[in-house]
Symmetry: D2
Subunit: 341 residues, 4 copies
């Protein structure tokens, strides 16, 4: 029973089918093909706006390229101290921005505390040229704690950003799960709430290498294609990126996948809630749960074949993730083990 990570999942059948259909024949390279045009249009459709869409290979590339367009090389990017960009993407942000600085902010439930963010910004402004210049806010939706932002919560960060002329970025490696969880539309969770740019990931949703930078702010989008190209993220056979997107967006496969993943986590959560020895400090709102499990129980779970991460944020904390291919029977088998461990 594998609850380690959604990026260890395979390909959704629709993705494989799309790759097979695009396997033969020739097509223009570097995104000039018909599939790529269709895939970009499909993304615009779900966001109900003429956003700029750039498919790339990894979430690290999406985040770092996005932030390079949102923050100058001498800028500060305010994010939660547990954010993926800060902890799991090496120094990609520094490389692509030309030296901007991530400033990790504390906060409950994976969300940076607004007032602490404000204090950081104001201190930096007092220092002027001597300190990194406030440049951007970067939030993750779903957060690294498995919680989600509502449009209203995002708007509060936007308001702070407006006070200081900052851009707002969302790392949406699990954006589909946030859409399903909040019930908000993709538009409401992005430009409707003042988000300038989204890293939109479907790799964890059944794609192979399906990440996109989606830009809602025209000035930010300017010359972005040069950023992608010089980073080596413009595929020559670009249609194989695009095909994945078409496959997952068509017939709302991406949302069905996310709904299933979220449901599986809720089903799993019930088992943890029933154990008094196990605490679940973070709200379970998407496809991740972070139970705090005493060492002996943790050992027992693993002995019985449950696979999951230990999570460094708190002592004894663990992480369980479900995804599009997680089955009910896998979860139920896990529940039985959890109940008896």
């Amino acid at each position: 029973m594998h609850f380690v990570s959604d990026n260890q999942s395979g390909l959704h059948p629709a993705v494989l089918k799309a790759l097979a259909e695009a396997a033969t024949g020739t097509a223009a390279g570097y995104g000039e093909d018909a599939l790529s045009a269709a895939a970009e249009a499909a993304v615009q459709d779900i966001f109900e706006t003429r956003c700029a869409v750039f498919f790339v290979t990894t979430g690290t590339a999406a985040n770092a390229l996005a932030l390079s367009a949102l923050c100058p090389p001498w800028g500060a990017i305010y994010c939660h101290k547990g954010s993926h960009a800060q902890n799991d993407e090496n120094t990609a942000v520094e490389l692509y921005t030309g030296g901007a600085r991530l400033v990790g902010i504390d906060g409950e439930q994976g969300k940076p505390a607004l007032e602490q963010m404000r204090a950081h910004i104001e201190t930096a402004k007092i220092h002027g040229v001597h300190n990194a210049r406030p440049g951007a806010v970067s939030l993750s939706n779903v957060t690294e704690s498995g919680t989600v932002y509502t449009p209203g919560e995002l708007a509060a960060y936007r308001a702070l950003a407006d006070e200081h002329q900052l851009h707002v970025h969302v790392d949406g490696a699990r954006f589909a799960n946030a859409v399903v969880s909040t019930g908000a539309t993709p538009a409401e969770l992005t430009w409707g709430a003042g988000v300038d740019c989204l890293s939109f990931g479907l790799t964890k949703n059944g794609g192979m290498a399906a990440e996109a930078v989606v830009i809602f702010n025209e000035r930010v989008a300017e010359q972005f294609e040069y950023r992608r190209k010089r980073a080596g993220h413009l595929w020559s056979k670009h249609r194989y990126l695009s095909a994945q997107w078409l496959a997952l967006l068509e017939d709302d496969v991406w949302l069905k996948n996310a709904r299933h993943a979220n449901d599986m986590t809720q089903r799993l959560a019930a088992g943890f809630y029933e154990r008094a020895e196990i605490d679940v400090p973070w709200s379970v709102q998407a496809n991740e749960i972070f139970p705090v499990i005493p060492g002996n129980i943790r050992l027992a779970l693993r002995d019985e074949g449950l696979q999951f991460y230990d999570w460094p944020a708190k002592a004894d904390m663990t992480r369980f993730i479900t995804h599009f291919a997680t089955t009910v029977s896998e979860v139920d088998a896990a529940l039985a083990i959890i109940a008896s461990a």
Copy 2:
């Protein structure tokens, strides 16, 4: 009849089959899976040495990352003035090296003239700290003129590099075609001839996004995994990179594909040689031919459905490329058109 570019080709059936086989189940991410270990071993096998192998997405990424490990930020990289790194990869080399400089050298048949390269190096050395420091030589095999280097030719550049303590890089976006054309082994065309690092591409050979940085020099390989990671080129579902490699290396599919592509170009070449009005200034040694075709004939060829590039190196020059999926009947149809245009 499509002779525009080998990167506009589709997927070799073996690649699609491998992706399908790897589509289900879970696997460790970021290259820690069994397929990735096998694919790296397969690359080591064909080079008959324990080289370091890093799969990446694009040839631009492979070249720029490779050069970043071979040349300091204040270094000069000597390449042919028509090289892909210089002309077709935006400023990726500058980004990844932290500001090193490509120095384009003239030379016949797509090969930088050794004596001119030596002169550049010596002038730079006289300038000392004021000029970019000689750092690396970068050659393309197959060259951008469709010619190939023999091991002996490579060794001459190595000798010059040794005089000045430079690293030697080969851009092998069409390395398979060079292997087949020269009859040399992969080892003889790389470390046997003093090459420190190869950008090894199989995307044009039937892969989807199948590029690798192969490093033969242990010190150059140090910490290279950090370079790839921070560039956003380490896939989370890395097995889908690796599967492509296994598919193409197994049973020498890559060499069969290259041999077929080279043969198709030779077959096509015969048609150009027969037309007195058409000049073919560069030796036809791999899967590309660059005929100089008067404007009226060019027009006629296109009217009859031949697709090919105009090539900026000389007036009236064109480029025709064949690949693993080019068929004999396509070539023969083209020959008929060429004969009668």
Copy 3:
């Protein structure tokens, strides 16, 4: 009465005299002149070793260039969270290192807590390629809290650095004050304690733009001259950098200046100690004192003409600095005001 900053002081007479003596005649440019050779030798003399010496213009340049030679672009640099490099030098470190990351560590008296540093390093190592790679330790001696490290304290950081193959850097913007305060020799406070590289500043000591990168580790020094040149920090009329150094090192002017500055701070400190309402939480060991002064007294001091900074580290904290040109009568006048405010 001006206690705002030692970098707001003027030029020591010896410096002005040296500039005047070098004002006429011609000399080779870019550091190839006789004065520069003599100045480098003078630095080597005081460190009693053949270190590499590079004069530059500002402390920011010295720190950032030094760290670029000590830490790879994907590396982490561990420093105190209040360090100058982190708070007062914008993103110079990120620029010059090509994207390395400063990790601010808590700690008393301006010194990063060793165990917290160790924890950071170990966590990063567990994350492997996903996190910035531990690269260097950067300490300030004098610290930003006005305290000093003894050779023994430095050696403890060196031991941790050795466990993880890190380089050790010291920001010595007030190095002279640390030498005088500890009574240790320059050698004992640097290479003797395992320091690889020192940013050695004499601008605050009576120079005009007198900073140097002093490298004790031969491999770190390799090609460093290219770093300085491409940063635009190699003066054409380099002798005017060198002349400042000769002036200040000759006859131990730099140490006399530092001793005077330290003495003036001790004299001033006595006044604060006598006021029960004023707390001085950090040890007064060099030429800075950080009294915590209630708002009404602070106001009174300023009304009477005392100039000093408010210091953001703690509520009501202030900073008073003395320097080579601070006079006893200025301090005594300040003492009278402090006593009566």
Copy 4:
């Protein structure tokens, strides 16, 4: 008799006097002092506009920082192939721009041929994202061949730049000599001719480290102070940069110095013109002359004590430079040697 380089000259007496006057007392740091405000105003006065003025240490810093504000990291900068930025400033431009590329253009008299520049730009545009994006034109006035641009000549480059939305930069390391030579005003030679940004150097004119980035385009000037700061080029004791500028601009000392230097070169030129064996291929318009002198005469000149550079542009070419401190008697002594060699 020293004709090697104007950057090997000493300090003009007015500069030394200004440094002495500013030597005592305290002043706000980092350019917040009164002298700095006055010096910036003085520069605005001579350009008759409210340009943005940033003093820096070296010409390399001025050029590279200026170009970083004029050209994106993926951009191409068109300059003469013999330009200082390309040949004598290592990879400073690449460092500060974040990877932009210098494209060296051929051309007579040190001026890039307009039509060749146009061809480069148009080729790059056809390549689109695959090639460096045309970003800026960089001209040197005085050129590296000792010639000058008139306002009309500059306007022709501006017109080309306008066609392609490029910025225009002038490297004015010897700008004073160009002003004197053309008889045009500083305004006419810069913003009047469409120049966006000038690297304005007075180091060779009698300064010590007196370089400035002068920006006439408001958008280019935005946040430029952050560029300077993170590069380590904002002096703490900034008044010692400013004092040099005030000294040289007051009473037109800079123009008198330039006029004298130009006159000395004209006086020297007469001696070369008289020798039939000596060719002077480049117009002598400022304070440099590049005579082509047969080897035996060259040897004789040096035997008699003349000091000058061999210049790599042509066989047997040499460079003689005069400056503010070159005396008539030195030139006359040289003339006697030239006549008899």
